[in-house]
């Protein structure tokens, strides 16, 4: 079977810079025009297309881009990513309902809160590797949700309601944040996706991206070549967490009410699935992966509960026939073919490394 993705990748590599900009612009225009009824009839005949464009599609894409920094770039398996989404959402909910802050004031606070949570989680745990780190992060994700469930101040199981929308901008329909029209929220999440895309691209093509990749490939060698591995792993956690937090603030502002049930472990798993099946470490791949994970169950809503079965089966099939993901980064593909992906190192492997250094 010819590899269409690799073929398109080769064409892209040969395009001159100005043609690439035209393609990027075209994609952006398509994204801006996406919330229309005619597109919706094809993409989501049995759901409200404009609503699902924001949640789950936009939200999943943003979360997947954040988790991709941790899992795809730095190679750290995080199973509790939903915690940072929850922290952003609860930050918005409490500050807006109790202290009457405005959405735009809370947004940076939510980002900083989530980043701080990432550092607090990372500082003691990033000394662990592979499976052990995965278990600790899984625990962290559950702790945040359970704390929210048991804290009366956070509304316990009922959650927090009457969360205000972002303030409107007069005379501009695209910036009227009401209850009925999801389009303004979609444009907001789209802007965030573009912003995060630029930030991540810059990180990838700098010493930071090189350090993350070096850590993924051989952490001990990276440290010995002068890479402060702990600091860079912490940066990966903080950057990933802050994107999750940002997404959480927006989510809460749109949904009016949030409950701990919005932040189930399943969401962490779905986002991780999006990153892995799209092609971890590669932004376009991760975006496509998140889109499919969010969109496919909505598209086949008319099949009722069979849709979950089909969704699961297609995930399994994809991982069998294309383990490197739909649009893999070239490096990740090479790593997988060599059977040495950065994710899920076993403890025994670390011991073997130490033996070898001896």
């Amino acid at each position: 079977m010819p590899d269409v993705v690799a073929f398109v990748g080769q064409i892209w590599d040969r395009l001159p810079s100005w043609q690439r900009w035209i393609v990027r612009l075209a994609i952006l225009v398509a994204a801006v025009l996406a919330p229309s009824n005619s597109v919706g009839r094809i993409m989501a005949p049995s759901s409200d297309w404009k609503t699902i464009l924001f949640q789950p599609i936009g939200v999943y894409i943003l979360l997947a881009m954040g988790l991709n920094i941790v899992v795809g770039l730095a190679g750290l398996l995080d199973l509790g990513y939903v915690a940072f989404f929850a922290i952003g959402a609860y930050g918005m909910a409490t500050l807006a309902t109790k202290d009457h802050w405005n959405f735009w004031a809370i947004l940076p606070v939510g980002v900083v809160l989530a980043a701080a949570a990432g550092v607090i989680l990372g500082a003691p745990t990033l000394r662990l590797r592979g499976d052990y780190l995965a278990i600790v992060t899984l625990g962290f994700g559950e702790i945040i949700r359970i704390v929210a469930t048991n804290s009366n101040w956070l509304g316990a199981a009922r959650g927090i309601s009457d969360i205000p929308h972002p303030p409107n901008i007069d005379h501009m329909k695209a910036f009227h944040y009401g209850v009925l029209d999801p389009k303004p929220y979609y444009y907001l999440v789209l802007a965030m996706i573009v912003f995060v895309f630029v930030v991540v691209r810059r990180l990838e093509h700098s010493r930071v991206g090189r350090a993350w990749q070096a850590i993924r490939e051989d952490e001990d060698a990276a440290e010995l070549m002068g890479v402060p591995t702990f600091a860079f792993k912490l940066w990966a956690f903080a950057m990933g967490a802050s994107i999750g937090g940002m997404c959480g603030v927006l989510f809460a502002a749109k949904e009016i009410a949030i409950t701990p049930d919005n932040f189930q472990f399943l969401l962490s798993v779905l986002i991780l699935a999006a990153v892995v099946l799209g092609g971890q470490g590669n932004l376009p791949g991760v975006i496509v992966g998140a889109f499919l994970v969010a969109w496919l169950p909505e598209r086949f809503r008319n099949l009722q509960n069979y849709r979950v079965l089909i969704f699961g089966a297609s995930l399994v099939a994809l991982m069998i026939f294309r383990p490197e993901g739909l649009i893999p980064s070239r490096k990740r593909r090479a790593e997988l073919q060599a059977g040495q992906g950065g994710m899920g190192h076993l403890g025994a492997e670390v011991v073997a490394d130490i033996e070898e250094l001896r």
Binding site: V199, R207, E356
Partner: protein, 258 residues
């Protein structure tokens, strides 16, 4: 040619009940090519791992240019001016040769995540300089043509050279080479010797572990011999070669240790 670049002071390392190094004292002068030899398991690589901070010594001290490295993290020691290669090549296999060397140059760079995100001029200058330095180092070790190749696709000899280039990129005062000639043919060995001399002539000090006696005897200014974690001899190559204790250690060792 007088100040010691690295000093091991009564260094003892124990792994459980095994004594890997026993009160090893060693001093390498600036600008020297110093060889550490000995049978397998004598503690040579352990000494490298102590100097670079992979292990902490059980007793004793290690000073690099006067500063103790005990308790420092490996990346901090790298910034002090120590770089190394590995006995079993440990390149970043899925990065290009150029990127491997650039990881080394980054050890000297100041800007990090904020600089990269904001695209600060200083960050961009560091990236440009890093690439230029990396390219010139690839040329220096003689593999300029493979800059864009993935490290794992390089021939064995080129991988060894790439490891040396990556280590040099951290601007070390002391370069530790762990069996650089292993697996090389005579022609490759000759050009490796030439490379090591050029590294020294650039003002760096070289400490190497090597089993190939022809290489050791040709390029070393000084040789120390380890056996079961103890230093049994030290001196100029010719002196060490005729030392009865050294001959005894080698004759009692497995055949592949020559």
């Amino acid at each position: 040619m007088s100040e010691p670049v690295v000093e091991l002071d009564a260094l003892t390392v124990r792994f459980g009940g095994v004594v890997a190094l026993a009160e090893l004292s060693l001093s390498v002068e600036e600008g020297a090519i110093f060889a550490l030899i000995g049978p397998n398991g004598a503690g040579k690589t352990t000494a490298f791992n102590i100097i670079t901070g992979v292990y902490r010594p059980s007793e004793g001290d290690v000073r690099v240019i006067g500063a103790s490295v005990v308790g420092r993290k490996p990346h901090q020691i790298t910034r002090l001016g120590v770089a190394r290669t590995f006995q079993n090549i440990r390149l970043f296999s899925n990065m290009t040769a150029l990127e491997n060397v650039m990881v080394g140059t980054d050890a000297r760079h100041q800007t990090s995540v904020p600089g990269a995100v904001l695209g600060l001029p200083r960050h961009r200058a560091e990236e440009r300089d890093g690439e230029a330095v990396a390219r010139s180092l690839l040329e220096f070790v003689g593999i300029r043509g493979v800059a864009g190749e993935m490290a794992k696709n390089l021939p064995y000899g080129d991988q060894r050279r790439l490891e040396i280039a990556r280590a040099l990129a951290t601007e070390p005062k002391l370069l530790l080479l762990d069996e650089p000639a292993a697996g090389m043919n005579p022609a490759e060995k000759a050009s490796l010797q030439d490379l090591i001399r050029r590294i020294r002539d650039d003002g760096r000090t070289v400490l190497l572990i090597e089993h190939d006696m022809s290489v050791v005897m040709t390029i070393s200014d000084r040789v120390a011999v380890l056996d079961f974690g103890r230093k049994i001899a030290e001196g100029r190559p010719a002196e060490v070669q005729n030392d009865p204790a050294v001959i005894r250690a080698y004759l009692g060792a497995p055949a592949d240790a020559s």
